[in-house]
Subunit: 240 residues, 2 copies
DNA sequence: ACAGTATTTATCCAACGGGTTAATTCTTGC
DNA sequence: GCAAGAATTAACCCGTTGGATAAATACTGT
C-alpha cells in the first residue's frame, strides 16, 4: 500500500487549452482507427496518439471505448444524412433524378470509405450500439420519401413503366455501390484485376446507372450496351 | 532461470484420439468465432472451448491465430465455389438461368451468414490474407465464364437486348443479395422494420430478380410491378 | 491576485490473451 | 510387447490494453 510520492515535473512546457478542437481531433482519429481496425481491433492508445492527445483525454471528453465508438458512428450517420438533404431531386426529370441519386451515393462512398467500414463493423455487432442510439433512430433518411415521389412522378409522366417500393430501390442502389467498394479488396484478388482504377470506377458507375434505369424506364442506355472487352488487367496491388 | 519442477498428474482420465475430427471441430468453431467477432475480436480460448479442445491443440493442428483464420477463409471460399460448380446454367433459357443464379446466390448467403461476415472481415484487412493464399487464387471462379456464355446466348436468342460485362453483372447480383443480408441489422434499425421476416425476404428476392431481368430483357416482370403498400411494420428485434 | 474549476499530463495496474513449455497418454509399426 | 512418435493436457509466461489515479497546469470570474 505504499503511497506513490508526488510526481516531479521536469518540463514546464506551456500547453494550450482547446477542448472543442481536442474533441474533434479525438473523434477524427477514432473514426480512422475504428474504420481501419474495427471495434475490437481499435486501440485506445493509437487513437490518443493520432489525436495528439493523451489517453486520459478520451475518457475525459468522450467516455470509454464503446461510447467513443458510438459517438463516431452517430457522427458518420449525421454527416451522410446532412449531405443527403442538400441533394434535391424534386426539380429533375425522374430518370435524371435516379441517375443523380446513384452518382451521389457512389461518390459519397468513394469519398468516405470509413463510412463503409464503420457500417460493416456495426453490422458485425448486429447493430447492438445503433439500437441503443436515440440520435440515429430519429435521423430518418430523407431519401425514402424523395424516392417515392420521384417514382410516382416517373410513373405518371410515363418515364417509368413500373412502380417500386422506394425502400427496395434505395437498398438496391446502395447495395450496388456499397458492395463494390466495400469488397473491392477481395474482389480484386478473386478477379485478378484492380477494381479501383479510374477506368474501372467509371465503368462501374456507368453499369449501375444503366442497370437501374434500364429496369425502370425499359429503355437500354447506350452505356449499358458497351460490349466491353474482358480487360483482364494485372492484379491489384495498390488500393488508392 | 529456475527450472519448473515436473507437474504432478492427478487424474488419469482416458481420452480418445481423433486428429481429423479434432481438426474439423476446430475449424468449425473457428468459423463461428471469426464470423461472430471478426479477426481481432475472436478469442482463441473461446474457439478451443467451443471445439471441445485445448488451446494448445489449435497450434498443434492449424497454427497460430492468423493461420487458423486463413484456413477458415479458404474453406469458406472452397465451399461456395464447390456449390457454384454444381449449378449448371447451360441448359436453361438465359432469363431462367439468370433467375436461378440470383436465387442460388441469395439462398447461399441466407444459409451461410458466416460467409458474409468472413468476407467483411477480410475486406477490413484489405484482403491481406487472401493475397497470401495460393489456394484461393487458383480457385478462379468458373462463374464468370458461365455468365458470359449465358449472356451471349441471351443476346443471340433475342432474350436480352444488351451485352454486359459478366464480371459487372456477377458483382451486381452478389451486391444486391450481399448488402441486404450483411447490413440487415443496421438497415432494420434505420427503416424501423424487420428485413428478415419470411415476407420481407420473399419480397426482396422478387425485387432483385425483376430488377435484373427487366434491365436485361426489357420486359417488366409482374413481380416488379407490384405497387406494394408502405408496409411499415414494427421495428426488428429478432434477427433470426 | 486569487480561488475555483476545466483541461491536460505522467504514471500505474489488474486483467486479458496469444503463444509456449513440458509432461502425459494413446497408437502403431516392428 | 515395446519403443518411437503422434495427439492431448495442464500450467504458465509475458507483452498488451483498457481503464484508473493523482497531480499539475491553464483559464475564468470576481
Amino acid at each position: 500500500m505504499a503511497k506513490r510520492p508526488p510526481v516531479k515535473r521536469k518540463r514546464t512546457l506551456k500547453w494550450q487549452r482547446d477542448p472543442e478542437g481536442m474533441r474533434l481531433r479525438i473523434l477524427e482519429a477514432a473514426k480512422q482507427e475504428f474504420s481501419a481496425h474495427g471495434l475490437a481491433g481499435a486501440r485506445i492508445d493509437r487513437i490518443a496518439a493520432k489525436a495528439g492527445a493523451n489517453k486520459r483525454m478520451l475518457y475525459y471528453h468522450v467516455g470509454n471505448k464503446e461510447d467513443l465508438y458510438l459517438t463516431v458512428l452517430e457522427g458518420a450517420y449525421e454527416k451522410i444524412r446532412g449531405e443527403e438533404r442538400q441533394l434535391d431531386l424534386e426539380h429533375l426529370d425522374p430518370p435524371e433524378a435516379i441517375e443523380r441519386l446513384i452518382e451521389f451515393t457512389w461518390n459519397y462512398f468513394l469519398r468516405n470509405p470509413e463510412f463503409l467500414a464503420l457500417l460493416n463493423t456495426e453490422n458485425l455487432a448486429r447493430a447492438k450500439h445503433l439500437k441503443r442510439s436515440t440520435k440515429v433512430k430519429s435521423m430518418h433518411s430523407p431519401f425514402v420519401e424523395m424516392i417515392r415521389t420521384v417514382v410516382t412522378r416517373g410513373v405518371e409522366s410515363g418515364d417509368f413503366r413500373v412502380t417500386v417500393d422506394p425502400v427496395q430501390l434505395y437498398i438496391s442502389i446502395a447495395a450496388l455501390c456499397f458492395f463494390y467498394l466495400s469488397n473491392s479488396a477481395t474482389l480484386s484478388v478473386i478477379f485478378g484485376r484492380d477494381l479501383l482504377t479510374k477506368e474501372a470506377r467509371d465503368e462501374r458507375l456507368a453499369h449501375m446507372v444503366s442497370l437501374v434505369l434500364a429496369a425502370l424506364t425499359g429503355k437500354s442506355t447506350a452505356l449499358f450496351d458497351k460490349p466491353k472487352a474482358p480487360s483482364l488487367r494485372a492484379p491489384a496491388h495498390h488500393t488508392a
